[in-house]
Symmetry: C2
Subunit: 175 residues, 2 copies
């Protein structure tokens, strides 16, 4: 199945938490999402992503400054299912078969400040364990489960560098 996955980040924990934000962007890209929507981010996040695309390929996009309601509304208009990651949701392992059947998805990555309305706008509220850990880990596991691990085999077009996997050491080629 051809799948289209986009990611929305809501409810930043700190005013400046660019490292978590950068990790959310890079995980979205590496695990096969097309786009991440960030309500509020420093411009340097975009610059980092452009550099990663240039070096490692692909055309992953970060969209800044769109209010979350609008992103969810437009996703629904596009026929996307809204999958909200929250430690209070249903265990992902129970919902995985349904998620794998969806071809257009908006994954919403929350945080402590997520408005209650998001729980109601979501088609699925799912938990990657009901323990406190990391939005970055939850996003990676969700993208991995939705795509049945197929995302690990993904290649990126037009990269400057490419890693040749090896049992010991580092092998990198220039394209």
């Amino acid at each position: 199945m051809e799948r289209s996955i986009k990611v929305l980040r809501i409810g930043q924990r700190y005013v400046r938490d660019d490292r978590t934000l950068t990790h959310l962007c890079l995980v979205s890209r590496a695990f096969g999402a097309e786009t991440i929507y960030l309500e509020d981010a420093e411009k340097d996040v975009t610059a980092t992503l452009e550099e990663v695309n240039r070096t490692w390929g692909g055309d992953f996009k970060a969209v800044l400054g769109v209010p979350w309601r609008k992103t969810i509304l437009e996703a629904k208009k596009e026929g996307r299912s809204v999958v909200h990651l929250t430690m209070y949701g249903l265990p992902i392992q129970e919902v995985t078969p349904k998620l794998r059947g969806l071809d257009k998805i908006l994954v919403v990555v929350g945080g402590p400040k997520v408005p209650g309305k998001v729980y109601h706008e979501a088609d699925y509220n799912i938990a990657v364990t009901s323990q406190p850990h990391s939005e970055v880990a939850a996003l990676a596991i969700a993208l991995h489960e939705i795509q049945s691990g197929e995302e690990l085999k993904r290649t990126f077009q037009k990269s400057k560098l490419r890693i040749l996997p090896t049992a010991r050491g580092k092998r990198v080629v220039e394209n």
Copy 2:
């Protein structure tokens, strides 16, 4: 199979990067590791983990200040296989069947400053994609794959709070 998994963090990217460190600890705990070894960390990381154990249960431990060589040496003495996560390693999906057969594991989470020697000390150098993303995500996927997703069903003993998974909203009970 009864498995014992410990985690070692080597090569901190920044002098102070406590948020990534805290996420690595919480992911290790939530995904079923017993212990994380941190060469160098602020004491507040330990305090955060103690609070998480008190509230959410279990007895996950952080061990501070042991040099990485010693941790790897002792792990080997205990019969642990050393699994080093690096974007230069072999694709995890190709090594997963072997990893699932190991009953004692030390997962080593590297970073850009990992000494070359670690690649040679490791029994397995494995990559969670060969793309740049996040140590936190790589650790979560590795723990998830090694344990075949069984870690998601784990419960924690002696917790003060417990979440009742729900399709909408938040349900938490006090034990």
